[in-house]
């Protein structure tokens, strides 16, 4: 009814007492998708924002927003924060922990204390426990039985000593949080697909515990590249397990760059050896310099290899180069060559081969110019032998001039014949 509006108009002047007496309905909506509407009115949310909790991420998770709204700061949140402070967690990390694991506030304080006591009983120092809780916010949500189960699993499966187990768990506390199935699968992959022995796996895990939680596909991809393309044997990978932790593209571009320079040598016994850990760990500071360097070399390959100029800086002159065994035999070979006599007729060794079926086929495959040269040499030699003469000494074929022009073709022919015979046998 319109008459009711005439009684009180908004422009009417009222006294101060009446103004105070007007009750203002709360302006917060009864239901909302976001915590923005409640932040200013709720003490809990205000204090959480001041602590550094990411409310915008938490409100996306189902039911977390309503849970946080229902909490009373002094009763439900403050004791937990004090407890975390007592264990040794720093103030700056409290926001991080609650952002990632708001359910820590719904756990019973006694249970949390029991779990911390359990960890301490397993000889984890208090600083270690504090750092583990800071880095793995879900750690204290797991029951004592579950934590015990996990620690026992790592100790037995990998056959590690207690201190080693403590070490890897302290460095990667996520190991105690996730499911064991994926860790078991990773271990199986290492053993069966990658072919590492038990002690090698142990060594790798102690050096780089992240291998246990790594993505299987990425792990096999890196290993495949290391083993099949870079030809690095398993024992070298065990020696430098950090390579399994790198990004695949980074490894590939550095290897291709070294190949381009001709310095891709990973065997410690041969000269100009490059150790794998330096291959993956040195940063890309000299990249721009190298890009210009490679640009000058060849246009198409430039974009192929924009990586560091590590080839020269990292070269590790390992043990002495192997002794040149050829030097002793060289003199003997030269003498024998001259003794044989065909060089006095201007022939090469391969001109004198007996023409069986393989050699005939190889001769058929020679390129035209090589074939013509051979025909000329043989003709000249036949002519000389008919006249019972030899060439003047300066025209004799020298040992250094000897070229095995037929050998590649001959090898190919023999290989094909063998393959055909193998095929026929079946």
């Amino acid at each position: 009814d319109l008459d009711a509006d005439d009684e009180c108009s908004a422009l009417e002047e009222i006294s101060d007492e009446e103004a105070v007496g007007i009750s203002i309905p709360p302006s917060i909506p009864p239901a909302s998708n976001s915590l923005q509407d409640y932040v200013d009115k709720s003490e809990t949310l205000t204090k959480l924002v001041q602590l550094g909790v990411c409310l915008w991420k938490l409100e996306r998770r189902p039911n977390v927003g309503s849970m946080l709204l229902r909490l009373d700061f002094s009763k439900d949140v403050a004791p937990w924060l004090l407890f975390l402070k007592e264990i040794g967690v720093e103030d700056s990390r409290l926001g991080y922990i609650i952002s990632h694991n708001p359910f820590i506030l719904s756990e019973n304080l006694d249970n949390l204390q029991a779990r911390v006591n359990y960890l301490k009983s397993k000889k984890f120092s208090s600083e270690t426990v504090a750092s583990m809780v800071s880095r793995a916010p879900y750690l204290l949500n797991f029951s004592v039985k579950r934590l015990d189960n996990r620690l026992g699993f790592y100790q037995q499966q990998l056959k590690l000593s207690a201190s080693n187990t403590r070490n890897i768990v302290a460095r990667l506390p996520k190991l105690l949080c996730g499911s064991l199935e994926s860790v078991k699968e990773n271990l199986k992959v290492c053993e069966i697909e990658l072919g590492f022995k038990a002690n090698e796996i142990q060594h790798i895990v102690i050096a780089v515990p992240k291998v246990l939680t790594a993505n299987k596909k990425k792990l096999t991809q890196i290993f495949d590249f290391l083993h099949n393309t870079m030809k690095v044997p398993n024992y070298l990978i065990t020696k430098f397990p950090q390579v399994l932790n790198t990004k695949f593209l980074r490894l590939r571009e550095r290897h291709q760059f070294l190949e381009y320079l001709g310095k891709a040598q990973y065997d410690p016994n041969l000269p100009s050896y490059i150790s794998l850990d330096r291959l993956v760990s040195l940063p890309d500071e000299n990249e721009l310099k190298v890009k210009q360097h490679v640009k000058k070399k060849s246009q198409p390959l430039r974009r192929h290899l924009p990586t560091t100029h590590r080839g020269l800086s990292v070269v590790n002159m390992a043990s002495r180069a192997p002794v040149a065994t050829g030097r002793l035999m060289l003199g003997f070979r030269k003498w024998y060559y001259n003794l044989c006599g065909f060089n006095k007729l201007g022939l090469l060794y391969e001109d004198t081969l007996y023409e069986d079926a393989d050699v005939k086929e190889a001769l058929r495959r020679l390129p035209e110019n090589v074939s013509n040269d051979r025909t000329f040499r043989i003709k000249r030699a036949l002519d000389l032998s008919m006249k019972q003469q030899i060439l003047p000494k300066d025209q004799w074929t020298k040992y250094e001039e000897e070229v095995n022009y037929l050998t590649p073709y001959l090898k190919e022919v023999i290989r094909e014949r063998k393959e055909r015979e193998e095929w026929m046998k079946k």
């Binding site: 101060d16 007492e17 105070v20 915590l35 923005q36 509407d37 932040v39 200013d40 949310l45 205000t46 924002v49 550094g52 909790v53 990411c54 409310l55 915008w56 991420k57 593209l249 590939r252 571009e253 890309d284 990249e287 198409p300 430039r302 974009r303 924009p306 495959r365 390129p367």
Partner: protein, 336 residues
């Protein structure tokens, strides 16, 4: 009053190109760029929180003033605008991709940010050519024409010489020129067709079969050889098939070891950003370069416009974006 984040985003809008490494899906590249741009844009300094006057209860119990007011006014920051509550300013940036590259190829990939996507659409629609370098090898044929496929046939290649190769290349070029004329939607015996051909604008408009406008062997050393190709409407698989067919024409077999795109329209390998430069700052620099190039091209184009004869084609293109004209100009230079 725009926030610094929005200002940075506006300066990021435009086209740029990256070098896509081989073995990586193009979507991964696009997602990485989007993540990096978001990081850059959200890292700009946060604005100070707006303040609001609110009435808080009196903390100390001093005897009430006259009228019983137990409240005091204070300017309090509004926490609902705090970044931890609202989230970062930008949670999604529209990054579009130009002509695609399949997983095993590498090379120039054009990306567009924000408003640049509209320009990208026009670039897509106009007739631009792309240039590829194909690394090939004689001796094997595989089922999917690339080195990773299952070997179907092996053959010898000793009989192949450079002049035989040239003969096959010229035959292929001839067939492609014929296709170019066939698929252009003009009557071959008309004045219009002649004028277009003179300017090098003869060709299919929009979708058609893949056509190679240029084919050249730049490196020949059996068993390896390298081809340089300029093409329209192609896919990388088609290029590998071309290599395979070339092998067959030479009475041998050939397989494609690598496909690298060196140019996509006006974007060349020189401007492409490599993996280590996929950050917001480098992308911003690349976009500034592109914008300045566009401005200088626009200036020079208005001078040449008056010199060029007005044909029916020109009147059609006037309605299109300025980009289109620039593209066709580049295309005709490349075709010749």
């Amino acid at each position: 009053m725009r926030s610094p984040a929005v200002r940075m985003f506006r300066s990021l809008e435009g086209l740029f190109c990256v070098y896509k490494p081989g073995g990586v899906h193009w979507k991964l590249v696009r997602d990485t760029i989007e993540t990096n741009l978001l990081k850059g844009v959200n890292a700009t300094s946060a604005q100070p929180l707006p303040h609001e006057v609110r009435f808080l209860s009196n903390p100390n119990n001093k005897p009430e003033a006259a009228g019983g007011l137990a409240l005091r006014a204070a300017a309090v920051p509004v926490l609902s605008k705090h970044p931890l509550v609202t989230g970062p300013e930008f949670q999604h940036i529209k990054v579009g991709v130009g002509h695609l590259l399949d997983a095993s190829s590498s090379g120039v990939l054009v990306l567009a940010v924000g408003n640049g996507n509209r320009t990208l659409n026009d670039l897509y629609r106009t007739r631009t050519t792309r240039e590829y370098t194909l690394e090939c090898e004689f001796g094997t044929a595989t089922h999917d024409f690339s080195q990773m496929g299952r070997v179907v046939e092996r053959s010898t290649y000793d009989h192949i010489t450079l002049d035989k190769m040239d003969r096959v290349i010229s035959m292929m070029e001839g067939a492609n020129q014929k296709a170019l004329r066939m698929y252009s939607s003009v009557d071959m015996s008309s004045q219009e067709a002649y004028e277009l051909a003179v300017k090098g604008l003869l060709g299919p408009d929009g979708k058609s079969v893949p056509i190679l406008t240029g084919l050249r062997c730049i490196h020949f050393q059996p068993p390896n050889f390298t081809l340089e190709v300029q093409c329209l409407n192609e896919t990388q698989k088609y290029l590998r098939k071309v290599v395979h067919e070339m092998g067959l024409e030479l009475r041998s077999t050939a397989v494609c070891k690598g496909v690298r795109r060196t140019r996509d329209g006006p974007f060349t390998l020189q401007d492409a950003l490599t993996r280590h430069h996929w950050t917001a700052a480098d992308v911003m620099q690349a976009i500034q370069q592109y914008r300045s190039k566009k401005r200088s091209k626009k200036g020079s184009r208005t001078l040449t416009d008056k010199a060029v004869l007005q044909t029916s084609e020109e009147t059609l293109t006037v309605s299109q974006e300025n980009e289109a004209d620039k593209e066709t100009a580049i295309a005709e230079v490349q075709c010749s």
